[in-house]
């Protein structure tokens, strides 16, 4: 199966979100989110990455998982939003 590694950086109102995805076939095998954004509670970031594993590599599936995880874990941010994370992933997938 084809393995792709895609990366994209997105500037939120405050903070840069850098996403790198390893995609096998059409499924996310690994997701890494780095940058200088603010997300609370901090350790939820690693859970977000965990939740993205095995998710279909399309924007709708990713959006569903991210929004659900933000809600379930009560994630709050400062200067960025869940949509910025979605758009960073979209940019990694589609190049825009």
């Amino acid at each position: 199966m084809a393995v792709r590694r895609v990366v994209c950086e997105r500037k939120a109102l405050k903070g840069l979100i850098r996403v790198s995805l390893t995609i096998v076939g059409d499924v996310i095998e690994e997701a890494k989110i780095t940058g200088d954004f603010f997300l609370y509670p901090e350790d939820a970031l690693w859970l977000l990455e965990e939740k993205l594993k095995g998710v279909r590599a399309d924007v709708d599936s990713i959006r569903r998982v991210l929004e659900e995880t933000f809600r379930d874990l009560n994630i709050t941010t400062a200067g960025c939003s869940v949509e910025d994370f979605v758009l960073a992933m979209k940019c990694a997938l589609e190049g825009v």
Binding site: E9, R10, K11, L13, K14, G15, L16, R18, K32, I33, T34, G35, D36, F37, F38, L39, Y40, P41, E42, D43, L45, W46, T76, T77, A78, G79
Partner: protein, 271 residues
């Protein structure tokens, strides 16, 4: 008044790993109630690049330049971006315990940050809060801040450029292309200035410390007193130092704090 503010000037400028270990130790001490009063710490590093919790050093820092000038790279436990610390930069950190706070993150940047704004006003500047949590004076960023919440304890720390070597700073920190294109951000974030240049005068360490203490006394309605780290705080700082802050795993990989917990406990048990 009534409440008291414990002030710590404890610092290890030549050992930034200990400085960051102690930063986490005194927060934990306040959170666990080992310390009865809210705490303000003021401290410096001599030559270090401090990166945010979610960053990867090689993406943010010019590693060749860092090695050349012998600066250490240390990760902190709060989010946000990489900063350069030399003795011309003064760090402040405040930890308060509050049971009745609503809107947690807001309390960090719209309330706790005000102590630093008061301090700058006390020194004669006209500081403004911009871009969520940057402190700007004369349209230049003089202080960046980052905060976290642990249970009912609210923590904010910031670095204040007083007389930092800005050429060195910009040679060490990499700025992403996306950020440079984004005028809205680059206009604030990457136009930094030293407070000495903003005020057009020298400012002593003593004057800065007094201004910060007064700034936080005013904000919290508390009376400040100087204190030394407790033996429990130092013991915890040493465990954090050995098990976390001096390890390449913490500083260079981007691992969760939780993965260091067991090792820290082991070091504490041994000490």
């Amino acid at each position: 008044m009534g409440s008291r503010l414990r002030v710590l000037l404890f610092e290890t400028p030549e050992d930034p790993y200990m400085n960051l270990s102690f930063e986490e130790a005194f927060l934990i001490a306040r959170e666990r109630g080992w310390i009865e009063d809210d705490v303000l710490r003021i401290w410096r590093n001599a030559n270090a690049v401090i990166i945010g919790y979610f960053q990867v050093a090689e993406e943010e820092v010019n590693l060749i330049e860092t090695r050349k000038i012998g600066a250490s790279i240390v990760r902190r436990f709060t989010g946000g971006g990489a900063v350069y610390h030399d003795l011309g930069n003064l760090n402040y950190a405040i930890a308060v315990k509050r049971r009745d706070v609503k809107g947690g993150v807001d309390f960090l940047y719209n309330f706790l940050l005000k102590g630093a704004l008061n301090a700058l006003r006390n020194l004669g500047a006209s500081p403004k809060l911009e871009n969520i949590n940057d402190i700007v004076a004369n349209d230049r960023k003089v202080s960046g801040t980052a905060g976290t919440i642990r249970g009912d304890t609210y923590f904010l720390h910031g670095c204040l450029l007083v007389k930092t070597d800005l050429a060195k700073l910009s040679s060490l920190l990499r700025v992403s292309k996306v950020k440079l294109i984004d005028k809205r951000i680059s206009s604030v974030k990457y136009r930094v200035a030293n407070l000495c240049d903003v005020l057009e005068r020298d400012i002593s360490y003593k004057e800065l410390v007094e201004a910060l203490i007064r700034g936080y006394e005013e904000l919290l309605g508390a009376e400040a007193y100087f204190d030394m780290p407790s033996s429990d705080e130092l013991k915890l700082a040493r465990a954090l130092y050995k098990a976390k802050y001096t390890t390449p795993e913490w500083n260079l990989l981007r691992l969760t704090s939780a993965s260091f917990k067991i090792k820290i406990e082991e070091h504490l048990a041994k000490s």
